[in-house]
């Protein structure tokens, strides 16, 4: 479990180096990594390009190219992500009937469990476990938010943080 999360943390650091919100994610199938990605919101100008969404796209492409039924494939996927999936990603993972999600630190701004428990809107819901290498994940986020998001417009209100 820790090995997969460590890999996700490496991806998150890569995001930080690329001036993206440092979140990394790996998708595993039968104990093997089948997709890995990180946040790419700023480079794509698309605020939905979270690590999980990028991984979903990778799997969809793989399934299409290999004529695999993605419905059954996703049902066997276990997701490791450094930060609790946001409401959008939690809904996307639910839509795909993902088997299980393991995350690092909680996300008290957008969290798909902490802010709004998305699983309750879906029949099945996935197994969710948090607090795996949470400190490492949080420290990356802190490093990022110390510097400003280069793409965000100037804030109207000066923040005290």
């Amino acid at each position: 479990m820790d090995d997969f999360m460590r890999r996700a943390l490496v991806l998150a650091s890569e995001a930080l180096a690329a001036q993206e919100v440092p979140v990394g994610c790996v998708f595993t199938f039968n104990g093997n990594i089948v997709a890995e990605s990180r946040n790419s919101v700023n480079i794509t100008h698309n605020p939905t390009r979270h690590a999980e969404i990028n991984c979903i796209d990778i799997i969809l492409r793989y399934c299409k190219n290999n004529q695999i039924n993605y419905h059954t494939y996703f049902e066997n996927i276990v997701v490791y992500v450094t930060v609790e999936p946001c409401i959008m990603c939690a809904a996307a993972l639910n839509n795909l009937n993902i088997k299980e999600v393991i995350y690092g630190c909680a996300n008290d701004r957008f969290g798909g469990k902490t802010v709004l428990d998305v699983n309750t809107f879906y029949d099945k819901g996935y197994k969710l476990t948090g607090n795996v290498l949470a400190d490492e994940a949080m420290s990356l986020l802190k490093q990022f938010y110390k510097g400003a998001n280069p793409n965000a417009p100037e804030s109207k209100v000066k923040k005290n943080k």
């Binding site: 794509t44 939905t48 969404i53 946001c86 839509n95 701004r109 802010v115 809107f121």
Partner: protein, 361 residues
């Protein structure tokens, strides 16, 4: 060969057609597959109803009552001293919206503040200096929630005087006269464009638009209201790609106007020509030269018009995109996240809050 062309050519002509002279031009017959949509379009165009903002439940919630001890002050000269002393020694805390005094009656405390003692004993213990000024005590029901809008204030006043400062924006939200007639024409026209996109695709794909058939159909447009122009359009593609709901595609299409974007562009040129011919509306993004070096950022300042209430994924994506306003036509009872199952726009911890309007039909 695209999926749409496969589906289209699947509707083959019969032998009878071939005998007709001259051969009929193969055309998409309007209305054949659209039992409802033209009725809807008429309704959207002809309705004189204002659009309704989807607001937090607290604006419409009935007032909550709770019990407090009230003391009747014997001499009016003692009132101001009593107010000052009580506010200092036993402040009302969660009931700050209540005025302390109503004529010679003064609120002492919620009944839950007392343990086993009587109210006289409670007063003697906490504000001894006031122990002799009361004629009698009684338990009264007073509003325990602060009124947010005038409608609620009128109700609370019947029980006890309240502090209330109307918030003009909130008043406008609940009054059901949010938009001017001129604005309504604009919003309704944009929703008509959304309907036209659905109609065009359903003809193309030959999807029957019955109530169930509509389940997985959705279309949207993104509008820059400052220049009254359609920035992009998007049609639901979830049958092929489970994430490509119309709002997700719309956000990616907007990203493409900002030199970003990830997914393939699947806006049909033919559809764009059709829309431009049918509607006297501008298309495209604002001239970025005029806006110094900073172009639009994500969907900041943009409005989204969408047929069906977006799901949790799409609604949150629209929060991330910082969309200004969302207009939707049909509620999504099972998965809608702006009205039906939850109102994402009212969750205070999120970093962006858009306005949501519906009531087109």
């Amino acid at each position: 060969m695209s999926v749409s062309s496969v589906l289209f050519s699947a509707g083959t002509r019969s032998e009878m057609d071939l005998e007709l002279e001259p051969p009929l031009k193969k055309q998409r017959t309007i209305n054949t597959y659209l039992p409802d949509i033209d009725i809807w379009i008429d309704k959207i165009k002809s309705s004189d109803q204002n659009l309704s903002p989807v607001v937090s439940d607290e604006f419409n919630a009935p007032i909550k009552l709770g019990k407090v001890y009230v003391g009747y002050i014997k001499n009016v000269q003692d009132i101001s001293k009593a107010v000052m002393t009580l506010n200092e020694k036993i402040p009302l805390k969660e009931l700050q919206h209540l005025k302390r005094v109503k004529r010679q009656n003064i609120i002492l405390c919620p009944i839950t503040s007392l343990n086993s003692e009587t109210i006289q004993e409670y007063i003697e213990k906490n504000v001894g200096e006031l122990k002799d000024i009361f004629d009698y005590f009684q338990v009264l029901e007073v509003p325990f929630t602060a009124p947010r809008v005038t409608k609620q204030y009128q109700e609370t006043k019947k029980y006890w005087p309240c502090n209330f400062h109307p918030n003009h924006y909130w008043e406008k939200l609940v009054r059901n006269s949010f938009f001017t007639d001129h604005e309504l024409v604009i919003h309704r026209t944009y929703m008509e464009v959304v309907m036209e996109i659905v109609k065009w695709h359903s003809n193309y794909l030959q999807i029957k638009l019955s109530d169930d058939g509509l389940q997985d159909i959705n279309a949207s447009i993104v509008v820059d209201p400052d220049i009254n122009s359609i920035v992009t359009i998007a049609f639901d593609h979830r049958q092929i790609h489970p994430l490509q709901h119309t709002a997700m595609i719309a956000i990616d299409n907007v990203a493409r106007t900002q030199n970003g974007g990830v997914w393939d562009n699947n806006i049909s040129d033919e559809l764009m020509i059709h829309l431009k011919e049918k509607f006297a509306i501008n298309f495209g993004v604002r001239d970025s030269n005029k806006n110094s070096k900073e172009g639009p950022y994500l969907c900041t300042g943009y409005n989204l018009y969408i047929l069906r209430e977006p799901c949790h994924m799409c609604s949150m994506a629209l929060v991330h995109a910082r969309t200004k306003r969302i207009f939707f036509c049909i509620e999504n009872q099972e998965k809608g996240a702006l009205k039906s199952t939850v109102k994402l726009q009212t969750i205070s911890s999120l970093n962006h809050h858009f306005e949501v309007f519906t009531g087109f039909l």
